[in-house]
Amino acid sequence: MAKHKTPLLDQLESGPWPSFVSDVKQEAEARAKNEKGLDYQIPADCPADLLGVLELSYTDGETHWKHGGIVGVFGYGGGVIGRYCDQPEMFPGVAHFHTVRVAQPAGKFYTTKFLRDLCDLWDLRGSGLTNMHGSTGDIVLLGTQTPQLEEIFFELTHNMNNDLGGSGSNLRTPAACMGMSRCEYACYDSQELCYNLTQEYQDELHRPAFPYKFKFKFDACPNGCVAAIARSDLSFIGTWRDNIKIDQEAVAAYVGGEIAPNAGAHAGRDWGKFDIVKEVVDLCPSGCFKYEGGKVAIDNKECVRCMHCINTMPQALHIGDERGCSILCGAKAPILDGPQMGSLLVPFIEVNKDDDFQAIKDVVEGVWDWWMEEGKNRERIGETMKRLGFAALVKAVGIDFDPRQVQEPRHNPYIFWKADEVDGDWDRDINEYRKRHQR
């Protein structure tokens, strides 16, 4: 028997999709039974009260959560988000319902032991409800009370070798794709870079001093499995600066039907014979891919790294050998000015472990120094960039202007040269000028 009647929430279970309402009900039931005989450290009926307060919000058409708080673990300015219910007598199980953000492993490689330990910890000291994973990519543990926070933190850091993630005006938990561990397209070791920068910028992760949130994401190739270009303030997307490698024999095998295109994906239906012109040449966004006389030719300088040809014929085409990453800046979700994708800041940079990724760290710190100086409170760097102009960012970071930073010619002429950047300054011989131009 449910603690609260929830007719409005019940309706959400009627659709074809899995429902969070069913999940919460399942957890409420499991905690009521307590088959493991746990000594729950927060009220056992926490999930039941969560359903109750949500039903009340639907009935009232307004939220019953208060905003924010001062809770956290000692010395950390992020990782814990205080949440309090404004109807604690009616729903004592969720009087406090703090969120804990936990760093996910790079590439989200878990051991079953880690997941079990995490669930055991959260069953004992939290609501048992998790969000795997939050939008930023971290593990989100939903709902606990203040006295549990230090206990959870101790357990996570001492026994599970893990750490809290980022929240608030911090560097948020960095996220990487699986990269070289599983993927032949990886142009750099995204997990290594993610881990290195996470360690390097511990202070930025845990002690907030930015105008607003800041996110790093690492895609080892332009397929973008973690969607860094859309989801992070600074995205590191693998690329190459030489040519796509072509194996013409394998091309012939694809055309002849000996190798299944798309590595055999979409094989559940007969799509007919592979047509390289229709399925690859005509779909190349910059028209740089040619198939003539049984051979593939690519005008590499026009390639925009859409990855379509490589994805379609992975045995015939391969990423180049001079590999590194591009750095894009300023992606964000709405709130101000609508959503924004990252803008190309550094077209190519080597990802060099031998010097501890110093070149990349120089860019990162240049970007931060500028934003910390110029950014308004609660302004994402993408907004600062728009407000002050992309050129201001390029100059602040100390990198060269590059035509590839311009999306299309004459669309957004953001580069305003100063006199000292131009050969011969603005000075001119007016008499010479007048010989060529009438007044």
Binding site: I70, G78, Y84, T146, S167, G168, S169, R207, A209, F210
Partner: protein
């Protein structure tokens, strides 16, 4: 010139006390304005030290973080703890 830690701490606490009638929470930027010649990272070190000494606390909405004097404004006690 590097910040003098103790003088900077005193200045921050004085600023917070002066504003305490109208404000209990401050953005990080409010403090960097107090030390226009110092780098933001230096100011952050002072604030971190004040947090360690439990004179200042972090307040977070989840998306934004602010700093406040310990005990100032609405406290956890008023939030049912």
């Amino acid at each position: 010139m590097p910040l003098d830690m103790e003088a900077a701490k005193a200045e921050i606490m004085k600023f917070c006390e002066q504003k305490s009638k109208s404000k209990s929470k401050f953005y990080f930027n409010d403090f960097t304005k107090l030390f226009p010649d110092a780098k933001a990272r230096e100011v952050k070190k002072v604030l971190t030290a004040l947090v360690q000494e439990e004179k200042m606390v972090f307040w977070s909405s989840g998306s934004t973080t602010m700093y406040g004097m310990a005990g100032a404004g609405k406290q956890a006690a008023a939030e049912g703890e």
